[in-house]
């Protein structure tokens, strides 16, 4: 039954410890242990979320800041473990990560391509085969041996996008990354994402730009304070979301 879903999130709850002061040294830990104050001040970032995605679908995640969109993506990527419920995913996941998270600023673009590629789980050989393609897409031919710290944020974003989308993943996870970079490059990225969608990649897309969600996605899930408010076809969800937030 569940085999037909490429992402299957069932009754998932994610809990954080919001304890007013974070205990990260031993003295406090023992004091609180003795006073029985180590109690959790729990915060449920997601409550009983269900999301079933079939292969080839494009889902937009919408909602106001702090509604749990990124938390949901992190759980799907396997970074956060659910407190309750289950997550099943099938196939490879390529996350489009925030600027520079996978980069070492002291190293050159060339070295970072290999570092970041292997962080994503590719082999070195695979990266060698695709190296020219990545640099070509990122339009950084003249800056291959320049340390990344001298790059503009747009250049870094281009490189990151090029590395993450070079391989055709089964699931592409995009978290509001395209806001950087110039218009021309944004169009290029949308083009690439559309291309991948046509090729059967599943997309999970977070953006505050409701129009780009409507353009790219066929389904949407609307989160509000950790609860699914509505999920289904993108037009219906987006219309209702726009209505509410007018």
């Amino acid at each position: 039954m569940s085999e037909e879903y490429i992402v299957d999130v069932e009754n998932m709850t994610i809990r954080f410890n919001l304890a007013s002061e974070k205990v990260d040294n031993l003295k406090e830990y023992f004091i609180k242990l003795i006073k029985h104050e180590l109690m959790f001040q729990e915060f449920l970032a997601l409550k009983d979320v269900n999301l079933k995605v079939k292969a080839g679908e494009a889902w937009g995640l919408i909602g106001i800041n702090g509604s749990g969109k990124s938390t949901l993506l992190k759980a799907i990527c396997g970074i956060l473990k659910p407190y309750k419920g289950t997550i099943r995913t099938v196939g490879t996941i390529a996350p489009l990560i925030e600027l520079g998270a996978g980069f070492d600023m002291n190293m050159t673009a060339r070295e970072n391509v290999f570092l970041n590629g292997t962080v994503l789980g590719h082999s070195r050989k695979f990266m060698q085969e695709h190296y020219d393609e990545i640099i070509g897409f990122a339009e950084l031919e003249n800056f291959q041996d320049v340390p990344i710290k001298n790059f503009s944020s747009g250049m870094q974003a281009r490189l990151g996008f090029a590395i993450a989308t070079m391989v055709k993943p089964d699931i592409l996870v995009v978290d509001e990354i395209l806001s950087v970079g110039d218009y021309q490059f944004q169009q290029k990225c949308y083009g690439r994402m559309n291309e991948m969608l046509q090729g059967g990649t599943t997309l999970l897309y977070v953006s505050h730009d409701i129009n780009s969600v409507k353009d790219l996605c066929d389904h949407a899930i609307w989160l509000d304070h950790g609860v699914v408010k509505k999920s289904g076809l993108v037009e219906e969800v987006a219309a209702e979301y726009m209505n509410e937030n007018r």
Binding site: L26, K27, I79, I93, P95, I97, A101, L115, T118
Partner: protein
């Protein structure tokens, strides 16, 4: 069993990442320095010269070829000291990445220890230079040096896993460990002979029973300096320390790693 195979597969999948991280550490260490990798040989040599001048006056009677005696001890101790110190920060330093992508977290710790092995190999180069200069005897037993290196590598990995996990939850570990390694250094016969402690029975007992570094260094010196097999007790004791510490480190790391993301 299936879980074990799964883990090995993941490690194989990420072996190139391990390689890239090690290469990065080695490359960045001496970037912008004039002498580059030569420092990995020069730096232990310079320290050895200073220490020899200072200490050979004090303990010269008991030790023949003091420079080699000192370098054999300090090379191994320096490896454990610097690799575990770097490993301690390995999870915290990569927190930005760990929050964004799923990567097996232990890769970063493993990479720090592994890149320190490169330094250890260089400092062995320094050791051989000194052996040449002091006309020390090169014996066939030196072919067994990799055994010691494997023992100490496993030990450092275990300690590194333990420290990197502990440091995520309690930043105090950094300061405690600094003091700890200082005490550890003085409680390891690096620049003094163990016989010097004959009058302090209990200190000697602690060192020869509870200090793993004593085992590795003694083993190493038997092979390099004295040209003989080490005692069975030193040999097996070394393996025992390696595997016990590795097991504890892996166990703690595995138990706590899912919570890292909430604390980094």
């Amino acid at each position: 069993m299936a879980a074990m195979i799964e883990r090995i597969n993941v490690l194989i999948q990420y072996k190139d990442l391990l390689r890239e991280l090690v290469v990065r550490d080695v490359k960045l260490k001496y970037r912008r320095s004039f002498l580059g990798y030569l420092w990995s040989i020069l730096s232990p040599l310079l320290i050895m010269i200073v220490m020899t001048i200072v200490f050979s006056q004090m303990f010269d009677r008991g030790i023949d070829n003091f420079p080699v005696y000192l370098l054999t001890g300090s090379a191994l101790f320096e490896f454990v000291n610097s690799s575990t110190h770097m490993a301690m920060y390995s999870v915290l330093d990569n927190s930005a990445l760990l929050k964004k992508i799923y990567v097996p977290k232990y890769i970063f710790t493993l990479a720090k220890i592994t890149s320190s092995v490169v330094d250890l190999v260089f400092s062995m180069g320094a050791l051989f230079l000194v052996m040449l200069v002091t006309r020390a005897h090169f014996s066939l037993y030196m072919l067994l040096i990799p055994v010691v290196v494997i023992q100490i590598y496993l030990f450092a990995c275990g300690l590194g896993f333990l420290l990197s996990a502990a440091n995520v939850f309690f930043r105090d570990v950094q300061y405690i460990y600094n003091a700890f390694t200082t005490a550890w250094m003085y409680l390891t016969p690096i620049f003094y002979p163990i016989e010097m402690l004959d009058k302090m029975e209990w200190v000697r007992w602690i060192i020869t029973h509870l200090n793993p570094m004593y085992y590795y260094i003694q083993h190493f010196r038997d092979l390099v300096l004295y040209g003989r097999f080490t005692d069975a007790a030193i040999f097996w004791g070394g393996w025992l320390f390696s595997f016990v510490v590795l097991f504890i480190g892996l166990f703690v790391f595995k138990k706590t790693q899912d919570k890292f993301i909430l604390y980094v």
